[in-house]
């Protein structure tokens, strides 16, 4: 049995007329196909949480990103798709400035988190990263106990109060859907967990500092279908509280979990739109070819 057919798809919601007015006065997406079933009506009108403007990035002499413009709306899921090497991870890492760690990197343009420009001079990168959780392709729990893994972000912020930590750990583990499985073994090493559990632990670790944005780089690529389903379920839950950017290679996953999709090709955003739109009626030929599996 193919488990992918069994996945819980987000319930389609039909845009109701007149609801737009009740929401903040933000321009709905242009060219919104009113007749299409949408994942969430609020997504269309949410204020932007992250705005990328004319972002160019070079690794040494080689340019990896070209004039990227992208908006991620609050409490929505944006998925980044595209063939391997097109710069999805690079863009994701630029969002929380993890690219600073790469030596030869040079970046132009701006990324705004709320009202703050991340690349303005004098920005406290460490403060900034606290506002953005990141989940990596390969689960990477610290060789510490489950508890210490989740509490890590708070600890480095100087939180010492045991009760606060315990509370945060519990909330985050519940948020990541791992609480029931590990609540009796919080003191055990995180390396004893299964791959899927480890990945959810990493998500819990990212959630513990209550970030505004959650960046996920192919979080399910090393997981089996059942674990993948759990994480996808989780993403759907999490978007109530967080804004999520997810890189994925699975078209089905993008379709299932995201409200918006951006298609990358050779360091450029070819098309960005509502997920339903991209998957049913892409504007660009290339997008269509990629989605239908003709290349990539």
């Amino acid at each position: 049995m193919d488990p992918e057919t069994h996945l819980p798809l987000p319930e389609p919601v039909v845009l109701g007329g007149g609801r737009d007015e009740a929401l903040p006065a933000v321009q709905p997406l242009e060219g919104k196909p009113a007749s299409l079933p949408l994942t969430d009506t609020a997504a269309l009108v949410a204020p932007p949480a992250l705005e990328v403007e004319r972002l160019n990035l070079w690794y040494g002499a080689k340019q990896a990103l070209f004039d990227i413009d992208l908006q991620v709306r609050k409490n929505t899921v944006m998925s980044l798709i595209g063939p391997s090497g097109c710069g999805k991870s690079t863009l994701l890492r630029s969002l929380n400035r993890m690219n600073d760690l790469v030596d030869s990197v040079r970046i132009e343009g701006s990324v705004r988190l709320g009202s703050e420009d991340l690349y303005a001079p004098g920005v406290d990168v460490i403060e900034l990263r606290k506002r953005m959780g990141m989940v990596f392709q390969k689960s990477n729990p610290f060789p510490k106990s489950i508890f210490e893994n989740v509490a890590y972000g708070l600890r480095v912020q100087g939180e010492k109060d045991r009760l606060t930590l315990e509370e945060a750990v519990e909330t985050s583990l519940k948020g990541a859907g791992l609480w029931e499985e590990v609540k009796d073994r919080l003191k055990e090493s995180a390396l004893g967990l299964s791959g899927g559990q480890q990945q959810r632990l990493c998500i819990a670790r990212a959630l513990a500092v209550r970030p505004e944005v959650l960046l996920m780089d192919e979080p399910c690529s090393a997981l089996d279908p059942i674990a993948t389903a759990r994480v996808e379920e989780l993403i759907f839950e999490l978007k109530k509280e967080f804004t999520i950017v997810i890189v994925t290679h699975s078209m089905q996953q993008a379709a299932r979990v995201s409200d918006f999709t951006a298609f990358f090709w050779l360091g450029k955003v070819v098309e960005t739109d509502l997920t339903e739109k991209i998957f049913t009626n892409p504007t660009n030929r290339m997008t269509e070819d990629y989605i239908t599996g003709r290349f990539g």
Partner: protein, 719 residues
């Protein structure tokens, strides 16, 4: 076709190389095991029990004691009726009878000691001192080629013949023969008497009374100036014989005293009792500088009363015998080397080398051979406190050679092991923080360009021969340190203070500027910082010395702390040996820290941790087993290090943790003593034991380190 041939060739080459590499590895393991085996083979005989051998009983008519030559092929028996009889030990055949000297038949005689010395009162009432000996042509092994001799003094006339001759000593020579004046201790029916007269017999001897119990045992000290008395009522007394005899000190014994004797050297008095107890006493001076007899060794008791003692001439072993048996004991180690039970034993002799024992009962002589090459070594003498002759109390002492024939080597390994650990401790104290923090910086903060230069530079340091380091430490650094000890101690403080002072200023610089000039290049900023600290030290140190140490740190140390400053001390060693171990600890730690998966550091940074927090909370704990293994390897290196400690310390085997004095390590000790150690002697084997110890120490440390490293490798395979 050709591809099959290539494949076959490749397969064959593969197999050949595999065999070659396996063979090479096995050879190395074999070589190491071989070395271990050889070292152990040389060291372990120290702990072998003594071997004994019983020879066939010989029938010999008894006389006054008996004396065996070095090889115990012959026995001489002083016979009051016939003179000195010379027998072949093997079958008791009479070879000769020496009748020179005192007129026969002798009235009185002492038994010969292991030197063959005895005293005889002849029929004419004259006292002669004599020495039994053999004239052996070089290389002659067979007694038939030897000539027996007795050398007699010309005889002192005694106005009154005593009833028993107890002891005779020459006043100058510290023995019996060769002196000008003889002192005589004897007994007559009224009690003990003593006197002295010229050995050449020009004047008669005048008896003086010694007011001790009449039935007491008595013995003269080797210099003849004292008489030791053991009484039936269990007292041991020391009488000074000058003008009049006077009691200088007294000790009680456990039981009636039945035998007195000396161990080699004559400073340990052996006392045997009626129930078989055996103790050794020595003269000590107490706090009031008055003399006292100190019981300082106790031995396994005989089954019955002790009748006599005789010591060998090679070491501190002695024979204690009584009617029911005999034992060969070692004074210092208190070991019982041999035990013989017997019945009605009347006399006993120990050969000069202490390897042949003759027991006499009635007409029979029972010969034994004792093979105990290292009687002074026991587990206790190597590691425990040992009470040596001439020392006030038991202690851990290493002193392998000394002046004088009767010098006793003192071979406690503890001060050497202590020295090894002390040197290692000071080296690591200096090296571990620098190496590990350096590794942390290089692996986590330095720019790749800087890193690619730092690492090889430090690794080149490892190639520096330790002789050079030792030479520099001993001849350049030690005198420098001595001149500027305060500077040396102030400098690190100054550096830290200056660093702390500069940091807040540094943080005021614009971030972009800091980013370009600071991050990853902090190491370069250390150079002006250290130079500044040096200047600060030169400004501050003299005034610190003046203000807190009265202007001279050496007298201050001496007066305020009672510490003497040695030029070649632990700080110098720690510094020099630190240099030797820093590269190895640095390299292994750096590898361990660099191999902490990047995904972990990324995860930490993404959680909002600063690079420093990441290094401290994630990289360091994750790499800690590797660092542990690095330190272990460093410890192994420091333990085995020889040249540096040899040249940079005074090599004094002391038990003192102080930083201002030196040490002697196991390895340096081997280097120092090897020229002094005769092949297969005790010292030689002890040095091998030290080597074995070093081998085991370094081997187990390296094994632990390797196990930890392998465990680590397995643990992070999943990343």
């Amino acid at each position: 076709m050709s591809s099959t041939a290539t494949r076959n060739l490749a397969k064959r080459v593969d197999r050949f190389m595999a065999a070659l590499i396996t063979g090479g590895g096995l050879l190395i393991i074999l070589a190491v095991l071989g070395i271990l085996f050889f070292i152990a083979k040389e060291a372990l005989p120290l702990f072998f029990p003594a071997r004994t051998q019983t020879l066939a009983i010989v029938n010999l008519e008894p006389g006054k004691g008996l004396w065996a030559d070095d090889s115990a092929k012959t026995v001489m028996i002083p016979d009051p009726a016939k003179g000195v009889r010379v027998h072949l030990a093997q079958d008791g055949r009479l070879l000769d009878t020496l009748t020179s000297g005192p007129t026969l038949p002798w009235k009185l005689s002492t038994s010969p000691d292991s030197r063959g010395h005895l005293a005889v009162v002849g029929a004419d009432g004259r006292l002669h001192a004599g020495e039994l000996k053999w004239a052996k042509p070089p290389g002659a092994q067979d007694p038939s080629q030897w000539t027996p001799e007795v050398e007699w003094t010309s005889g002192v006339s005694l106005p009154v013949a005593p009833s028993e001759l107890l002891d005779v000593r020459s006043l100058e020579a510290g023995g019996l023969m060769g002196g000008k004046v003889l002192r005589v201790l004897a007994r007559n029916p009224t009690g003990l008497i003593w006197g002295e007269a010229p050995a050449e017999g020009t004047e008669p001897l005048q008896w003086k009374a010694l007011p001790a119990p009449a039935d007491a045992l008595a013995l003269l000290s080797p210099d003849g100036q004292h008489a030791y008395i053991g009484t039936r009522d269990a007292r041991v007394q020391d009488w000074a014989l000058a003008g009049e005899a006077s009691l200088s000190t007294e000790q009680t014994f456990t039981e009636p005293v039945t035998a007195l004797g000396f161990a080699l050297g004559g400073s340990s008095l052996l006392v045997g009792g009626e129930k078989g107890s055996i103790w050794a006493y020595q003269q000590v001076r107490d706090e009031q500088d008055t003399k006292a007899l100190q019981p300082f060794h106790r031995f396994l008791s005989l089954d019955g009363p002790v009748r006599g003692f005789q010591h060998g001439l090679r070491d501190k072993r002695f024979l204690a015998w009584g009617p029911t048996g005999a034992g060969i004991l070692h004074l210092t180690s208190e070991r019982q080397l041999m035990r013989i039970t017997g019945d009605r034993i009347e006399g006993a002799a120990l050969s000069a080398r202490g390897d042949h024992i003759l027991l006499q009962d009635g007409n029979r002589v029972r010969p034994f051979i004792l093979d105990a090459p290292h009687p002074e070594i026991s587990w206790k003498t190597l590691w425990g406190r040992v009470h040596y002759e001439g020392y006030k109390e038991a202690d851990h002492t290493w002193q392998s050679t000394g002046g004088g024939d009767d010098f006793e080597p003192k071979l406690s390994l503890l001060p050497l092991l202590f020295g090894t650990l002390k040197g290692t401790f000071y080296a690591l104290l200096f090296a571990v923080p620098i190496a590990i923090l350096g590794a942390l910086y290089t692996s986590q903060f330095a720019t790749p360009g800087l890193k690619s230069r730092i690492k090889p530079t430090i690794e080149i340091m490892a190639a520096l021969p330790s002789v050079v380091l030792g030479f520099l430490a001993g001849l350049v650094m030690a005198p420098l340190f001595e001149q500027a000890a305060v500077h040396v101690l102030v400098f690190p403080l100054a550096a830290v203070l200056l660093g702390l002072a500069i940091l807040p200023i540094w943080s005021k610089f614009p971030a972009s500027w800091r980013r370009i000039w600071g991050e990853g290049r902090e190491a370069l900023w250390m150079i002006p910082l250290l130079l500044g600290a040096l200047a600060l030290t030169y400004l501050l140190a003299p005034s610190i010395e003046k203000a807190f140490m009265g202007g001279n740190y050496r007298t201050w140390l001496q007066e305020a702390w009672g510490v003497r400053y040695d030029q070649r001390n632990s700080l110098v060693v720690g510094f020099a040996m630190g240099f030797a171990v820093i590269p190895i600890i640095f390299t292994i730690s750096e590898d361990a820290l660099s191999s902490v998966p990047r995904s972990l550091t990324s995860a930490s940074l993404a959680c909002g941790a600063s690079p420093w927090q990441t290094a401290w909370r994630v990289v360091l704990p994750t790499g800690s087993p590797g660092i542990f293994s690095a330190v272990m390897v460093g410890v192994g290196r420091a333990i085995g290090e020889t040249m540096i400690v040899l040249m940079a310390t005074g090599n004094t085997p002391i038990l003192d943790w102080g930083p201002f004095n030196g040490m002697r390590t196991l390895s340096a000790n081997i280097a120092v003593e090897i020229p002094e150690a005769p092949h297969h002697g005790t010292l030689y084997r002890i040095l091998f034991l030290a080597a074995l110890l070093l081998f085991i120490l370094t081997f187990s440390l390296n094994t632990i380190a390797e196990l930890v490293r392998q465990h680590l490798r397995k643990k992070y395979e999943s990343y």
